[in-house]
């Protein structure tokens, strides 16, 4: 049979981020895959060498729009090791709390995307609605929905008040209830299981061979979790399970993620309960002494690794970032090959490659007048309703009234 070549990307409606997959098809089956990446390369590593450490934190935080806290924590942990700074326990706890909230937001986001890729859009709407609960918590604690800006060298920049702790616990109760529903869904819903079982197989042996990480590896029975193996922040002081599964397919990856939501809930409760008193940060020097350090962090998608070499000045000599998606990409071609074309979107989505979400507030600058107005969500919504009425003759309010 002659092969049909299907190019997907770099810009394609089914992809959330630019990447290029060239699929060679024999009938409906994928015989070979070629991946091309780099469309998002922004030269951040080079840019870090040209900026002082304190600016690098904010730059590194923007490596990813979803696991931003993961990257900034991984980076500053390396800097702190070189500078021999001990983060106060309260600071370490707050880092872990934000880290777990981030994991919940990321996993719920993934669940929605996965649902959408399967044509199960109800799941997408449910999980993204529930995700707002955790987004609101993050906004309350840090002031931002994404790119929290809470980390600084030597600790964190904002404390968690008693009232905030109570609100976190309340919200976590809601999330736990919802998670129970998602676990039921992933383990009992026959349509979902039928769609996901056996799709995108990656055996334990192959996961190890390709160096897969995070839920992708754990779903193949590889018990690897940096939080447990190489504890950082406050993880050595809480008890939790490393979730693994032996399905070794997209179903396994789904089960691992929803079960991990439960573990995150457990961790957050313990951290809030044990939250020690005291300072949240120590003073860090502007110039970091010469040295090198490697820091590992279990991001929602897998292990994040940062290497920092300092030369005694206020700028680093070298910063190396390895995000989990890069580690999982070699395995992707293996998972796609031999499967059906129709499975490709969910298989790619199942390693959870990253994409960004937007802010709620827009700042409008009026050209020559130089005035600036801030528009909140309601204002932005009214503006768009008016715009459609005036320019397109569609009255969205009527549609709204039908609801």
């Amino acid at each position: 049979m002659s092969r049909v070549v299907v190019p997907i990307g770099p810009q394609h409606p089914a992809l959330k981020e630019p990447a290029s997959f060239t699929l060679y098809l024999e009938g409906e089956r994928v015989a070979a895959t070629n991946v091309a990446l780099g469309y998002n390369h922004r030269g951040i590593e080079k840019a870090c060498e040209e900026r002082p450490y304190i600016q690098d934190i904010y730059l590194i935080e923007r490596v990813c729009g979803i696991c931003s806290h993961s990257h900034s924590t991984a980076f500053i942990q390396a800097v702190e090791e070189i500078a021999a700074l001990e983060v106060p326990r309260r600071g370490a706890y707050i880092r872990s709390i934000i880290g777990e909230l981030e994991r919940i937001h990321s996993h719920l986001l993934w669940l929605g995307v996965a649902g959408h890729e399967l044509g199960f859009d109800t799941l997408f709407m449910y999980s993204w609605r529930d995700r707002e609960v955790v987004m609101d918590l993050l906004a309350m604690i840090t002031g931002n929905r994404v790119n929290y800006g809470i980390n600084t060298i030597g600790g964190v920049r904002r404390d968690i008040s008693k009232e905030q702790s109570e609100q976190i616990l309340k919200a976590v109760d809601i999330l736990e209830e919802r998670t129970k529903f998602y676990i039921k869904l992933a383990t009992e819903e026959t349509t979902l299981i039928g769609r996901l079982a056996g799709v995108g197989s990656l055996s334990r042996e192959m996961a190890v061979k390709f160096g897969a990480t995070g839920p992708t590896a754990r779903a193949a029975g590889v018990k690897r979790d940096v939080r447990k193996d190489d504890p950082y922040a406050a993880y050595s002081e809480v008890s939790f399970n490393v979730i693994t599964d032996d399905h070794a397919d997209v179903l396994g990856r789904t089960i691992v993620r929803v079960m991990e939501l439960m573990e995150s809930v457990k961790i957050i409760r313990q951290l809030i309960k044990q939250l020690p008193d005291g300072p949240i940060s120590v003073r860090a020097p502007r110039k970091i002494p010469a040295g090198e350090a490697i820091s590992r962090y279990e991001a929602p998608r897998g292990e994040d690794l940062h290497y920092v070499r300092a030369n005694g000045s206020e700028k680093p000599e070298r910063v190396k970032v390895r995000a989990p998606t890069l580690a999982n990409l070699t395995a992707i071609t293996h998972m796609i090959d031999g499967g059906y074309l129709a499975d490709v979107p969910i298989v790619i989505a199942a390693i959870d490659p990253c994409f960004s979400c937007t802010d709620r507030m827009i700042s409008l600058r009026e050209g020559d007048r130089g005035t600036e107005t801030l528009m909140d969500w309601e204002g932005l919504r009214n503006y768009s309703l008016e715009w459609y009425k005036k320019n397109r003759g569609i009255d969205m309010n009527k549609i709204h009234a039908l609801r």
Partner: protein, 159 residues
Amino acid sequence: MEKAESLIKDLCKAFAFIEGHTKIQRSRRIYAEIPLENSSSLKEVLIYLRNKKNFTFLCTITGLDSGENFEMIYHLADDAGVLINLKSFTPRSRPVIESVTPVFTGAVFYERELKDLFGIEVKGLPEGRRYPLPDNWPEGQYPLRKDWKKPDENPAPKA
């Protein structure tokens, strides 16, 4: 710590040239260097660590420009959270290394990075699209080299 010390002892016993080039920075962080003249033994050391010491996960490869030489750090992890960072060198005048993909399949993208960003030739690297720089990136421009200047600051000589 004891485990790390015995690991270093075994490693030095198997590869004498590593002796004196090791350090334990903190728990679970081991550094070892392969001197420039022994860099051809890199693959053997990696195979030894993978097969005999259970370092089955190559986290990544970090490239560095340290002036006269380029440094490559192979970060290897085992299932107990120990990270061994194996440094190897290649001369700047003729930067050629051998691919480690026969030992660690997942190293493909990490080696492509070394090639694109440092201009290190990687022998035996499987064919494929370049990564991470764009296809129309000018030849001979290696952005992570310390002497690299942004193209606009470095205009082409007039004919």
